[in-house]
């Protein structure tokens, strides 16, 4: 898969583009300007005795060709250049125009010949091409390109307020196996990418489950996960589609999948809030999201009492940073104070959600996954040191809040400046963290960053590695840990990355850190993560165990090899750290 394409949108754009060309030729013909009539020429090939039928066939052929070119544009050209859509369409139109001038138009003249065979030379072949024909073809194709460029935009996601079709109903008898065959075995996990932030200042919803067609292929996706040997799957029901308002839920978006997971597995780690909130809640600056998500978590746990593993809010730091500091998602702000407010709201929501779940299921296990980040100052310049220190304090803020760790003075003051009282902060600091809380540490090759001489954070690659960075988190929070996300934006090098991450996990476990699981994220390729989902382009991000046709990637085979090799080893068949948590 090259791009995720909105086929219907491309077809309509192609149809309109072809219609615009027809209109152009009609008008220029009526004005007496030298022009061509492609439909007349197409129809004359076969239907010169029946003009009306010929015109209809000619129109049909031209519209079909327009649709095909628009599809071609959508698959191969759209989003290649960072230009305005109209310019992208205009540049693209050079290709069909050249083909029309050099091949199609001269061939049409040949097709109207009464003779079944001709002897060609270049002069005879290009005889129908005159300057007026060239000008007409160039201008009409430019018009086609402009129309297609203007109409084919935002191929993935949907306008906020719209809803994709719900997942298909469960097809019986397609699965076998049993969920949770070994409850205390090491967790070999993957996830279904499920991010749903808004962009364009709340007007456009990204929905990765929709873009990757999980709503269509969900049963196949779970089957593939089981086939690889996955024991646990990080799974995020679409909060923005399910939670319609206080006390109002549309469970059609999750009931079939949960029934399948309950029966056959893999064991789900339910991710209740993944980078976005329903439109009626606004954005992460809304102080009411804690109360609302508490209600949602309670309702979810009540409906699915068999679910034991939860991630109340996924990657709170990343969500707050991308929304309130980097200006990409949701509120799209670039403000340190707004970051603190978003982090506070998310942490507060996470705590309230955990409490609501515990009311339904006292032995619930919480896997609080967070992106492990590290900022290294490039030089002894005090200003650079200060920027790096602030960035390092910022990354810990949400976890400090949910794990009742002392805040740095700077972060404490930042929260107070947002109107959050000392009493509220103290309430979180003195709370008893649920015993079955696991710290999930995600790691990607850009998580280690250098603060350069200009004070900008630039990716360092794998400098210290997951072992060192995760160890920082272990020493700070002293919680059982899990490697909850990793992948590599290099389909061929991903197997190498997988094994190297795995060796990091083994080394940290050997050093005495209680580790319960490892995750390759995600099961399928993702969409637009190379641009942090900041725009709706539809670029395939090939990090999945399977591509979007559900064909295995090399890393999928490598992960199966790894699981087959380790799952029956004594330390993994029964994971002591997980056993202690589950008791």
């Amino acid at each position: 898969m090259i791009r995720v394409v909105a086929l219907r949108k491309a077809a309509v754009a192609g149809l309109c583009g072809a219609a615009a060309m027809e209109a152009f030729w009609f008008v220029t013909g009526k004005l007496g300007l030298p022009t061509i009539d492609l439909v007349a020429q197409l129809s004359a090939v076969q239907f010169h005795r029946w003009p009306l039928l010929g015109d209809a066939a000619g129109l049909l052929a031209h519209f079909s060709i327009g649709i095909c070119w628009a599809m071609f544009y959508a698959f191969f050209f759209w989003g290649r250049f960072h230009l305005r859509p109209v310019l992208q369409g205009l540049i693209f139109s050079i290709a069909p125009a050249m083909l029309a001038i050099l091949v199609v138009y001269p061939e049409l003249a040949l097709m109207r010949s009464q003779s079944p065979m001709v002897v060609l030379d270049l002069h005879r072949f290009f005889a129908p091409i005159t300057p007026a024909t060239v000008a007409s073809l160039l201008l009409s194709h430019a018009l086609f390109g402009v129309i297609v460029g203007l109409m084919y935009r935002r191929p993935v996601g949907y306008a906020v307020g719209n809803r994709p079709a719900p997942p298909h109903l469960r097809r019986p008898g397609r699965s076998h196996g049993k969920r949770n065959a070994n409850a205390t075995g090491f967790m070999f996990a993957t996830g279904i990418e499920c991010s749903y932030p808004t962009i364009e200042h709340g007007r456009w919803r990204r929905d990765e489950m929709d873009s990757t067609r999980h709503y269509e292929f969900w049963q196949e996706d779970f089957r593939l996960a089981r086939e690889i040997g996955i024991t646990h799957i990080r799974y995020g029901p679409p909060l923005h589609l399910i939670f319609q308002g206080p006390g109002r839920y549309d469970w059609d978006y999750i009931d079939p999948q949960m029934a399948e997971l309950e029966e056959f597995g893999p064991e789900p780690i339910i991710d209740l809030c993944h980078f976005g909130v329903p439109a009626w809640l606004g954005n992460l600056q809304n102080p009411d999201i804690g109360r609302a998500l508490e209600e949602y978590a309670g309702a979810f746990a009540e409906r699915f009492p068999w679910v034991r593993f939860y991630t109340p809010v996924n990657e709170m730091y990343v969500c707050a940073r991308m929304s309130a500091l980097d200006g990409l998602w949701n509120e799209q702000l670039r403000d340190e104070g707004a970051y603190a407010r978003a982090a506070w709201n998310l942490a507060n929501a996470s705590i309230r959600m955990s409490d609501a779940i515990l009311k339904q299921r006292q032995d619930a296990v919480f896997i609080n996954s967070e992106s492990s980040e590290f900022y290294q100052p490039c030089c002894p310049d005090p200003e650079i040191q200060k920027i790096a220190q602030a960035a390092n304090e910022r990354r810990f803020l949400p976890l400090d809040l949910i794990f009742a760790h002392a805040l740095s003075p700077h972060m404490h003051d930042l929260l107070c400046a947002q109107g959050i009282s000392n009493e509220d902060i103290a309430r979180l600091q003195h709370r008893t963290v649920p015993r079955r809380s696991i710290l999930g540490v995600d790691y990607y090759e850009w998580n280690e960053r250098l603060i350069d001489r200009q004070g900008h954070a630039v990716a360092l690659g794998e400098l210290f590695g997951w072992y060192v960075i995760a160890d920082q988190y272990w020493r700070r929070y002293k919680r059982p840990m899990m490697h909850t996300e990793t992948n590599k934006m290099d389909a061929d090098g991903a197997a190498r990355w997988l094994w190297r991450q795995w060796h990091n996990v083994q080394l940290l476990a050997k050093s005495g850190v209680p580790l319960v699981g490892f995750t390759w994220y995600s099961l399928t390729d993702q969409i637009d993560w190379s641009i942090a989902m900041g725009e709706s382009v539809g670029i395939v991000y090939p990090v999945g165990l399977f591509d979007l046709n559900r064909e295995s990637r090399i890393v999928g085979l490598a992960y199966k090899h790894l699981i087959d090799m380790f799952r029956d080893q004594p330390d993994y068949r029964e994971c002591r750290a997980l056993k202690e948590i589950m008791q």
């Binding site: 898969m1 090259i2 791009r3 394409v5 086929l7 090939v45 076969q46 095909c68 599809m71 071609f72 698959f75 191969f76 050209f77 290649r80 083909l99 091949v103 061939e107 040949l110 097709m111 109207r112 010949s113 009464q114 003779s115 079944p116 065979m117 001709v118 002897v119 060609l120 030379d121 086939e227 690889i228 934006m489 290099d490 389909a491 061929d492 197997a495 190498r496 997988l498 094994w499 190297r500 060796h503 390729d525 670029i539 395939v540 991000y541 090939p542 591509d547 979007l548 046709n549 064909e551 295995s552 990637r553 090399i554 999928g556 085979l557 490598a558 199966k560 090899h561 087959d564 090799m565």
Partner: protein, 181 residues
């Protein structure tokens, strides 16, 4: 340049995939409807005359050429060729390219400038577009039974622990420092 546009990251088929065989089989199967079009438009007879072959020999040659073209299609389009949803458009564009490059340019070159015209020329373009659409639709389905199973492919040592090792060997001088005598 075209390859650059097609070469989306992660686009190459994986070790468990069989693009050449699935493409060749699909190419042969897709020739059946294309022959129907060629016969209906009288194009087959004209092409045979241009090539100086009998209709049967032209068909045999065509089948062989389309098997190669099918294999080329599946390899060139990589993982995209496995798409049930989009294969038809990829195949049609490939069929159109074959027509523009092959029937329009190569055939007259091979035959001293003789080319189909009239209905026969229309039949040639239509048959190649039909062939392309058919091959694009067929490849994902033909590919499935040919695909190596996950179970078997995952046993390959290349995806095992040795995958962790850096593939690019260090320069010899660095790898084996000269021993002091």
């Amino acid at each position: 340049m075209i390859r650059g546009f097609l070469d989306a990251h992660g686009y190459d088929p994986g070790p468990s995939q069989r693009p050449y065989s699935s493409g060749a089989i699909s190419g042969i199967l897709a020739t059946v409807p294309a022959i129907g079009v060629l016969v209906a438009f009288g194009s087959l007879r004209i092409e045979a005359a241009i090539l100086g072959l009998s209709s049967a020999a032209t068909l045999g040659l065509g089948w062989a050429a389309m098997a190669i073209a099918g294999a080329a299609y599946a390899r060139f389009w990589g993982r995209a060729a496995n798409s049930v949803r989009s294969g038809w458009i990829f195949g049609m564009s490939f069929g159109f390219a074959l027509w523009a490059a092959g029937a329009v340019l190569v055939l007259p070159l091979l035959s001293g400038g003789r080319a189909p015209a009239g209905n026969a020329a229309a039949g040639v373009v239509l048959s190649l577009i039909v062939w392309g659409a058919a091959v694009g639709i067929l490849v994902p389905f033909v590919h499935r039974p040919l695909h190596e199973s996950l179970e078997r492919a995952a046993k390959n040592e290349d995806v095992g622990p040795s995958a962790a090792v850096e593939k690019t060997a260090p320069p010899r001088a660095q790898a084996q420092p000269a021993r002091k005598s």
